[in-house]
Symmetry: none
Subunit: 239 residues, 2 copies
């Protein structure tokens, strides 16, 4: 049903993370009706991180605005922003959750912004295929009334690829772990989430992420040096 | 499914003309999930004429623009016009066709205007519930732009006071200096500027700046501990 919803609005790049019922799926192909081209092009991933690694910007869909400091947009505004980013050469994606309980906090944390649907708070009952349909429609009609002056926006560098950002997370968290930052252990999860959320929100470009890697590396070298009982100064400014 | 689609966007007035499988329908009630209030309020009619008799303005939905001299609108434009008319006190309705073959020419002829969906001409496959969902959504968001986002955006915390940001700069730079980051010395100025520029651009809030201070402090503690020849782990997560 998701494949059909996408095909109605000319979207074709469907990525699945650990599909519950396995893949390929005869049931999915049957439900997709004539959207075989979408089903044939499906790519499978083990993690959301892997599925979004080659993207610059990711929207997470949630049923209702969460207690999150990520920007929350309606479908129209979000779709317009996606079109603007695509016009600037960014690779973008929209993340949908499981049919029963959506995305968990970790998964939402991997996204740059949140898109939510203006449904009646007393009756919110969209399934995934319906959410995909609405988002695909919004994307199709976005920005039809007038241009968004990409000329002025062009100077802002795009956010780094998610793969680079995720590597920064891992590097920083390993170094902080060694430094005793995640203490007490019970706080590890929330501390990690806070860091990831704020570093994602900052939308650092690839050179900026590289600079941050250099910063962490400098601390790594220092602690290595001190653990070895001192030694020559190692410049990391060039990173 | 139509009742559920409507309920998501607070619409409740569902009128059926000669339902194929009779009425009331247990199957329909089950598919409507919790949209019982829509099912309970359904009204039955023998003809489209009877179903639309008390309306001032009727839109007919069609899968593709027909050879018709009626105005053809997209969902957004049509929805805005409906809201305008309702604001003027008009009673309005949207006419959807049969699942298999839509509305016949006579039925389309009863409507004032046509609304059609901007689907891919090579893959048009919306069922009635999806068409109702899209139209309900379009009606919900019509004329809302600017209305939706400020409410959501209010949650985004303001950037920290510059004084807090500057203290972070000083703290980070002192720690990095100690770690040998600014090497060779000639690069100190540009490296410092790069860091300050990117941390400013990120527009971190006060709690986020505090978190970053905690990160730097963790590295400080680690190097202090190692310089002292090791010692007890100091948790900095609470920062």
């Amino acid at each position: 049903m998701v494949a059909r919803a996408m095909a109605n609005f000319s979207l074709t790049d469907l990525r699945l993370v650990n599909p519950r019922d396995g893949w390929p799926s005869d049931k999915a192909r049957a439900a997709a009706s004539r959207a075989d081209h979408v089903i044939d092009a499906v790519r499978l991933f083990d993690t959301v991180e892997a599925a979004t690694a080659d993207l610059n910007f990711v929207l997470a869909t949630t049923a209702r605005p969460r207690d999150s400091f990520k920007p929350v947009r309606g479908p129209e505004e979000a779709a317009q922003d996606l079109k603007r980013r695509i016009g600037l050469g960014e690779a973008t994606g929209i993340l949908f959750g499981r049919e029963r309980w959506g995305l968990n906090n970790h998964e939402v944390g991997l996204a740059d912004e949140i898109v939510t649907f203006p449904v009646d708070p007393n009756f919110a009952s969209l399934n995934i295929a319906q959410a995909v349909l609405l988002m695909s429609y919004a994307f199709q009609v976005a920005g039809k009334e007038g241009d968004l002056s990409p000329r002025f926006e062009a100077k802002v560098p795009p956010p780094a690829l998610k793969a680079d950002l995720f590597r920064l997370f891992e590097h920083l968290e390993a170094s902080l772990d060694r430094a005793g930052y995640f203490f007490p252990e019970a706080k590890r999860e929330v501390l990690t989430q806070n860091l990831r959320t704020m570093l994602t929100k900052a939308a650092f470009s690839e050179p900026e992420v590289r600079t941050l890697r250099g910063v962490v590396k400098a601390f790594d070298h220092e602690s290595g040096r001190l653990a070895d009982g001192g030694g020559a100064k190692t410049g990391e400014g060039g990173e």
